[in-house]
C-alpha cells in the first residue's frame, strides 16, 4: 500500500513503545507504523536540520566544540586534508560526547555527511559508512547474558548495509536538488509563508523537499525492512534471555486474557466473579511454574490472594466492592496483572524498557527522555503533516 512519511498518532507511538518495554514485540503492521510514522520522519527531520544548519553555517554545536559553520568550512573548502581531518575530529568528539545517548542521531548525521566527503586517502582513516556501522554494531552493548542480545544478527547487519547504500544513493542524488532549493527555491517560497524568518523558511523547504525525495525513492520501505529486522532481533534476544524457561505446559496461550476479560466484565457490571474448577486447575499450574523458577522473587511480586484461591475448593468467589469478604475482585485483578506480567517477561529485567535493545527498534533515545506528543507537534510544525503531502 502506498504510504506517506508522516507522524503517527502520539497515542499509538506511546503505546507501542510502552508495549516493547513490557516484553512484547511488534507485529509486522505495527513495524510499518513505527517505520513510516516515526523512524522515517526522524530521518527526514534530522537530515533536514543538518543540511539547513550547514547551509546557514550556524553557530550551533555539532559535537564537542565543532560548530556547523566550522564543519561547513572544512567540508566545502578547497583543502582535502582539512575535510578528512574534520571527519576524524568529529568521529572522536562523538565517541566521547554523544555516542551512547542517541546512536541513531549519530548514524543519521554520518549518512548526511557521506555524500559530501569523499573516501579517505589514509589507510587507517575511517569513512562515514564505517563509522556509522561501528555505531550500529555497538548500539546494543549491555549487561544481558544472552549473546544474541548484545550483538547484531547477521540479517540485521545485512539490512543495515542495504539501508545505508540506498539512503546514501538517494542523498547523493538529492545534492543537486538541495542546492537548487537553497539557492533558488526560497525566494519564490518566502512570500507565501508570510512573516517567517528566512531560516525557518529554508528549513521548512528543505524538509518538504527531502520528505518528497525520500518518498519517491521508496526510503519508507527500506526503513521498514530495517525496523522489521531490528524487531526480529528483539524477539531473538527475548527468547535467548528466557532460554530454558518456556511457558508452563498445558496452559493455553490466551488463558490469562480469557479469564481477565471475564473478571473485567464482572467489574464493569458491578458483579462478583466465580472461579470454577477449571480456572483453579490452570491457576495452580501457573503458580507452581512461577514458584519453580523463582520469578516472584526476581520481579519482587507477591500473589497472596491468588495462592489462597488456588488452594480453595471450587467455586471460589471474588467479591465486587465488598472489603469484608475474603477475596476482593480488585485485589484479585491486580494480582492477575502481576501474574500475567511474569508469564510475559519471565527473566527479562523489570527495567527492560530502558534497555537499548528496546529503544533501538524505534531508533530513539531511552523512554524516560522521550515524549511522543511533543515530538509529533514539532514534526507537524516542521511541515510533516498527516497527509504527508510534502
Amino acid at each position: 500500500m502506498d504510504r506517506n512519511i508522516a507522524p503517527a498518532p502520539a497515542g499509538l507511538l506511546t503505546d507501542l513503545r510502552d508495549a516493547l518495554g513490557t516484553g512484547k514485540v511488534l507485529s509486522l503492521t505495527k513495524c510499518e507504523d513505527v517505520a513510516w510514522g516515526f523512524v522515517a520522519c526522524n530521518v527526514v527531520l534530522e537530515l533536514a536540520e543538518l543540511f539547513a544548519s550547514l547551509a546557514e553555517r550556524s553557530d550551533q554545536l555539532v559535537a564537542g566544540d565543532i560548530t556547523y559553520g566550522r564543519l561547513y568550512d572544512s567540508l566545502f573548502g578547497e583543502d582535502d586534508r582539512a575535510r578528512h581531518d574534520m571527519v576524524e575530529v568529529l568521529a572522536a568528539e562523538e565517541a566521547t560526547s554523544i555516542r551512547g545517548s542517541h546512536p541513531w542521531s549519530c548514524i543519521h548525521r554520518w549518512l548526511a555527511l557521506d555524500p559530501i566527503v569523499s573516501r579517505p586517502q589514509a589507510p587507517d582513516a575511517k569513512s562515514p559508512p564505517q563509522i556509522a556501522k561501528e555505531i550500529f554494531l555497538e548500539a546494543l552493548a549491555c549487561d544481558l547474558s544472552a549473546e544474541m542480545c548484545r550483538g547484531r544478527s547477521k540479517s540485521a547487519v545485512e539490512q543495515f548495509d542495504r539501508w545505508w547504500e540506498k539512503a546514501a544513493a538517494v542523498l547523493r542524488d538529492f545534492g543537486d536538488e538541495l542546492r537548487r532549493l537553497l539557492q533558488d527555491g526560497v525566494a519564490g517560497l518566502a512570500p507565501r509563508l508570510g512573516d517567517l524568518s528566512p531560516v525557518t523558511v529554508r528549513r521548512f523547504f528543505v524538509q518538504e523537499a527531502l520528505s518528497k525525495w525520500l518518498k519517491e525513492n521508496q526510503m519508507g520501505q527500506t526503513i521498514t525492512a530495517l525496523t522489521v529486522k531490528k524487531n526480529d532481533q528483539l524477539q531473538f534476544c527475548i527468547s535467548g534471555q528466557n532460554a530454558g524457561l518456556e511457558r508452563p505446559k498445558d496452559v493455553p496461550g490466551g488463558w490469562t486474557i480469557d479469564v481477565y476479560d471475564k473478571l473485567e466484565s464482572a467489574e464493569s457490571r458491578g458483579e462478583n466473579f466465580e472461579f470454577k474448577a477449571e480456572h483453579l486447575q490452570m491457576l495452580l499450574k501457573v503458580l507452581a511454574w512461577i514458584e519453580k523458577h523463582g520469578l516472584a522473587e526476581l520481579h519482587g511480586v507477591r500473589l497472596p490472594n491468588l495462592k489462597r484461591i488456588a488452594e480453595e475448593s471450587p467455586p471460589v468467589t471474588a467479591f465486587f466492592n465488598d472489603p469484608e469478604k475474603q477475596f476482593s475482585l480488585a485485589a484479585v485483578m491486580y494480582e492477575w496483572d502481576e501474574m500475567a506480567m511474569m508469564l510475559r517477561m519471565r527473566r527479562l529485567p523489570r527495567d527492560w524498557a530502558d534497555y537499548p535493545q528496546v529503544s533501538d527498534v524505534f531508533a530513539h533515545p531511552p523512554m524516560r527522555d522521550f515524549g511522543f506528543a511533543a515530538w509529533r507537534k514539532k514534526a507537524i510544525a516542521a511541515g510533516l503533516d498527516r497527509n504527508g503531502q510534502a
Binding site: M1, P9, T22, I257, Y260, S268, R269, M333, D337, A373
Partner: protein, 439 residues
C-alpha cells in the same frame, strides 16, 4: 515540577506524564507528589487513571479483539450484536446501570453476560461504554479520550467502526424490509433504501481505512436515489410553513417564515392560478393569519401561490411558496386513513407508515413536521437512519415540484435540496457512517 499549563490545560491531557507515573518512571519526588495529589483530588485525573488499570492485560485483550474483529463479519453474527450496533452502544446504558432490567431488547441479562464473555464485538463496545461512563461521572467532554483509549484504540477502533457501521446498516435494511411501506401505501417507497444500495455501501465499508471515505462517497453518489446535487450555492435559507410546496388537507390558518437575516415590515400576497389576489396584508411580524373568510375563498384542488416581500426591498420576493388544498372527499378519506394509522401499535413502523401516506398524497408540510419531530425522538441506530431518509425523501419531493415543470421557485428548490442533503448526511451519521456532500 510539572509545568503549570500541563496541569490546567483542559484541551490536552498530559497522557505521557500519567503513563510515566503509572510505570513508576517519574523520578522527581516533587513531580510524583503533584500527580498523587491530582489523583486524590481531581475526578478528571481519576478517570484517566482508572482507564489504565491492568494496562498490560487490557492491551493484550485489545490486540486480540482487534484481530478477531477484522474477520468478525465473515461468520454468523448474533442478533444481539446488531442490536448493540444499531443503538450505537447506547444499550449499555441499561445493561450497565445499577439496577438493570431483567430483559433488555428481548434478551435476558444472562444472555448479555454470556455474549460479553465470548464475543469480541460486544466486549469492545462494552469497553467503549465503560469509558463513556467514566467520562460522564468525571464531567469530561465526550471528546476527551481517556488515557487507556488514547493508548490502545489503534488495535481495534478501525475494525470496531467498520463492524458497527456494517451491522447497523444490516439492521436498517432488515427494518426497512420488515416495515414494508410499499405494501401498505403503494407508490414509491419514502425510504428509498434497498438491497442494491445496501450491498454497495457494505462493499464500501469493507475498504481499507485510507480508501473507505472515497468508497462511501462513490456508493452514495452513484447508488443512493436520495442523493441530489444542489445546482448552485444556497444563499441564506428562509424556512416557511407551509413548506415551499405542499398539498394540504385544509386551508392554512397562517403562513410563517424565518427572518434571521432580514427585517419587516412585510407585504404578503396570496393568489390563485388566475392571479386573483385572495389576500393582501402587511405585517411587522414574520407571520400572517389567514382569516376564516379568506380560508373559505381558497379554491380546492388548485395551486395557490403566496409570496412575502420586505417593504425595504419591495422588488424582491423574500420567500414564496405554493400549496394545494385537497378536494374535500379526498381530504376526508385521507384524514380517516391517517387516524387509523395513528391508532396502530406505536413504533418506527407506524410512524414511517404515517409519513409514507402523507408523502404519497403530497402532504409534504405535514410529513416534514411529523418526521422532524421523529428525528428528535430517534437519535441513533437504524430507526433514526430510516426516519432521516424519509425526511430527505420529503424535501426532495418538494424540490422536484419547485424546480420541475412548475418552475416555481429556483431558490426555494435549492433550499429544499440543501435540507434533503442535510437529512441524508444525518441519516448516515446515525449509523456511524460519515459522509458529506461536496459543496
Amino acid at each position: 515540577m510539572i509545568p503549570e499549563e500541563t496541569l490546567t490545560d483542559r484541551d490536552e491531557f498530559p497522557y505521557e506524564l500519567l503513563l510515566a507515573f503509572y510505570r513508576g518512571r517519574l523520578r522527581d519526588p516533587a513531580e510524583r507528589a503533584e500527580v498523587e495529589q491530582l489523583l486524590a483530588e481531581s475526578p478528571r485525573w481519576q478517570a484517566h487513571w482508572k482507564s489504565v488499570q491492568h494496562l498490560d492485560l487490557k492491551r493484550e485483550s485489545a490486540q486480540r479483539d482487534g484481530e478477531l474483529l477484522n474477520s468478525f463479519l465473515d461468520g454468523p453474527v448474533p442478533q444481539m450484536c446488531e442490536i448493540i450496533a444499531e443503538s450505537g452502544g447506547q444499550i449499555f446504558d441499561q445493561l450497565l446501570s445499577d439496577r438493570p432490567p431483567e430483559q433488555v431488547a428481548g434478551f435476558d441479562l444472562e444472555a448479555w453476560r454470556e455474549l460479553d464473555a465470548t464475543n469480541a464485538y460486544a466486549r469492545c463496545m462494552r469497553r467503549r461504554a465503560d469509558s463513556d461512563r467514566l467520562r460522564r461521572r468525571a464531567g469530561l467532554s465526550p471528546d476527551e479520550e481517556l488515557l487507556g483509549d488514547w493508548l490502545l484504540a489503534h488495535y481495534y477502533r478501525p475494525a470496531l467502526e467498520h463492524v458497527t457501521q456494517s451491522l447497523a446498516l444490516r439492521r436498517a435494511l432488515r427494518r426497512s424490509e420488515e416495515i414494508g411501506l410499499e405494501e401498505e401505501a403503494p407508490g414509491p417507497d419514502i425510504l428509498a433504501f434497498d438491497r442494491r444500495l445496501f450491498d454497495r455501501l457494505e462493499q464500501a465499508l469493507a475498504q481499507p481505512a485510507a480508501q473507505r471515505q472515497d468508497a462511501i462517497r462513490d456508493a452514495v453518489y452513484l447508488s443512493d436515489p436520495l442523493c441530489a446535487v444542489a445546482a448552485g450555492e444556497a444563499e441564506t435559507i428562509i424556512r416557511a410553513r407551509p413548506v415551499w410546496f405542499t398539498s394540504l388537507l385544509a386551508p392554512p390558518a397562517e403562513i410563517t417564515w424565518s427572518d434571521e437575516h432580514s427585517r419587516g415590515p412585510w407585504r404578503v400576497r396570496v393568489l390563485d392560478v388566475k392571479a386573483t389576489v385572495l389576500l393582501q396584508a402587511a405585517t411587522n411580524e414574520p407571520h400572517v393569519k389567514i382569516s376564516d373568510d379568506v380560508q373559505a375563498s381558497i379554491p380546492r384542488d388548485e395551486d395557490v401561490r403566496w409570496e412575502v416581500r420586505s417593504e425595504s426591498s419591495p422588488d424582491r420576493v423574500h420567500v414564496c411558496g405554493v400549496f394545494r388544498v385537497l378536494d374535500e372527499e379526498r381530504a376526508r378519506r385521507l384524514t380517516t386513513r391517517l387516524r387509523e394509522l395513528a391508532s396502530a401499535t406505536p413504533g418506527v413502523a407506524r410512524d414511517l407508515m404515517i409519513a409514507q401516506v402523507q408523502h404519497q398524497s403530497g402532504l409534504y408540510d405535514a410529513a416534514a413536521e411529523h418526521l422532524e419531530r421523529l428525528c428528535h425522538e430517534h437519535r441513533a441506530g437504524g430507526g433514526a437512519f430510516l426516519v432521516r431518509r424519509a425526511l430527505a425523501s420529503t424535501y426532495l419531493a418538494v424540490r422536484r415540484e419547485l424546480t420541475g415543470p412548475r418552475n416555481l421557485g429556483h431558490r426555494e428548490g435549492l433550499w429544499a435540496t440543501k435540507f434533503a442533503n442535510e437529512a441524508l448526511e444525518s441519516a448516515y451519521k446515525m449509523l456511524g457512517i460519515k459522509f458529506e456532500f461536496e459543496e
